[in-house]
Amino acid sequence: MEIKKGIAVSPGISIAKSLIIDSEDYRIPRRPIKPSQRMTESQRARNAFKDAIAELIRLESAQDQTKGGKIKDIFAVHLRFLHDRSLRKKVTDFIHSDLVTAEYAVSTIMREIASHFAKVKDAYISERAADIYDIERRLLRQLLDKKRKNLKHLTKEVVVVARELSPTQTAGFDRKFVKGIASDAGGRTSHAAIVARSLGIPAVVALEDLTEYISVGDTVIVDGNRGIVIVNPDEQTIRQYEEYSKEFTDLGHRLDAIRQKPAVTRDGIEITLLGNIEFPNEAEIVLEKGGAGIGLYRTEFLYLNTDSEPTEQDHYEAYAETVRVFADKPVVIRTLDLGADKYTQSRRFAPEPNPFLGLRSIRFCLQNLTLFKKQLRAILRVSVLGQVKIMFPLITNRQELMQAKMILRDVMEDLDDESIPYNRDIPIGIMVETPSAALTAYSLAMDVDFFSIGTNDLTQYTLAVDRGNESVSMLYSTVDPAVLRLIRNVIQDAHKAQIDLSVCGEMASEPEYIMLLMGMGVRTISIASPMIPEIKQIIRSVTMEYCNNVARKVLGMDSERQISAYLRNAARKILPEAF
């Protein structure tokens, strides 16, 4: 039994078999297998060779002989290697003798060979070490891709264990089978954490080296409350955790009971509680938990799931599916917010040095009008099915906003020409998530119907901190006085211009911060669905007067630490059992 400590990022307890996802970008850990698994692993290795050969043959034949002559030669060499029986035998022998996984065997043997090559005096041959690494990656990809595909066809309950999880990998997660997430890397706002929270499954991240301790078939307990993961727990521990799990589920049920009740403070002020979703299938969960609509529909999933660009119809069907679930309740669709990830980076011939500040999100869309217009058309077409609003992300100045609006108008004209119906008065809003937008909110407010404050990115840009970078993530805080000042500014400007305002960043789903936001004037929030009952509970337990006091006190403080401590105490008084 091995107990590992990490950061708790999504509450709950789950006990299940592990499903390990390795990445060819990182060292493959040595993972032992049972003697009975020898045959399976050897066969996996042999299949990887076979599939890598097939892949290479396809790639080789696709090369133009004149231009690709050199490449064809390289492929020819690689093919010989993959066909080499003694190489394959080395790998399968290693699996048999050392009882390790196919990935580890491939990686170890190939690296051994590569280092032999590298030592040879002849430069031509020593350079071939690079070819060996290339072949290693190709084989590993075959092995790992199959595992990744299996994620979409799960039949048993599992806890997913990985070094870290990318949006593409989590795209197919079905909460019926994926019961928990544990990762070596990551922090409170890493992708794994966000996905876990929106699926309502326990997750622990920043475990550092969990993937080295885990073996194929190990049972794992994920304690998302205390931030602990236990590998191969003993009987006693399992029983203990089954107890905890039951207690926690009971608490959940008690909170769910307030689903039907309105989100109204004790002194009668109503708060509109909406849900954030990343995938259409989460829409139902929002309703289940008592959300009054969707405040943030992230549309990036359409680009991360497939290898080819989604068509307008793909967009339309995804949005329609969600809008129909909500009928008369609002659904705010955010246009593409991709950037600094596989999709936008792979289309460039040199990766951006600073993708976070680069061609992402709305900027990417404004420079890729065909792609942008497809999405806009789909959103407009869907607007007749319900109460749809459109939101542009990462707007930094008025010019960008006017450009986006102009393109939307162009698309409207096209639809008019084609006699396709849409809501001409579709509300248009922006995410206020950059310091420039926050500081000029008064001006932006004149040209939009609503603001939504994206506290995650606003905090990152304001404090100049990458929330995903473990070495500085402790500097990230949404209640830093600077950030609060900007948020207050936006709220006041929205109020003056009499436009709607909501907060959709994770700050709104933190029990400790919700009173502060309310006291600052926020009346609409959009959060990850599992948190809806708990936040509603807090809203129903406070008075707006109390919240106003909290806000007043906090806005007079100038130390983040002081503010955090004060808010934690204030929240504990209201909902002691959540702490």
Binding site: V77, R80, Y124
Partner: protein
């Protein structure tokens, strides 16, 4: 060329071949060697004095890193051993892997 007879099936033929092309037994020649060796049913072994390797394995042959002038002992065992040796000699010493020999 020498021939030993174990049995009728396991005829063994040996030869010593000198690498004549300027760049020696690098990737492309190694590939050609291995391709030809694999055409035959016989077992083919290659030795450079220090190590003895399977002549049908690209991995093994390229590890030999035989430079120009190196003499390799080729040993073929099987029903078509003689043809194998003949083909390999042609490739190494007569065609020199279709590559240039060193200029004097």
């Amino acid at each position: 060329m020498q021939a030993d007879e174990d049995t009728l099936e396991n005829v063994v033929y040996e030869a010593e071949l000198e690498i004549k092309n300027a760049e020696g037994l690098h990737m492309r020649p190694a590939m050609q060697f291995v391709d030809i060796a694999n055409r035959f049913d016989s077992e083919i072994n290659v030795s450079n004095g220090d190590t003895d390797v399977d002549g049908k394995s690209i991995m093994n042959i390229s590890m030999l890193a035989a430079t120009c002038g190196t003499k390799l002992k080729i040993r073929a065992k099987g029903p078509d051993a003689q043809e194998a040796i003949k083909a390999l000699r042609e490739l190494v010493e007569e065609k020199h892997f279709n590559e240039p020999t060193p200029k004097r």
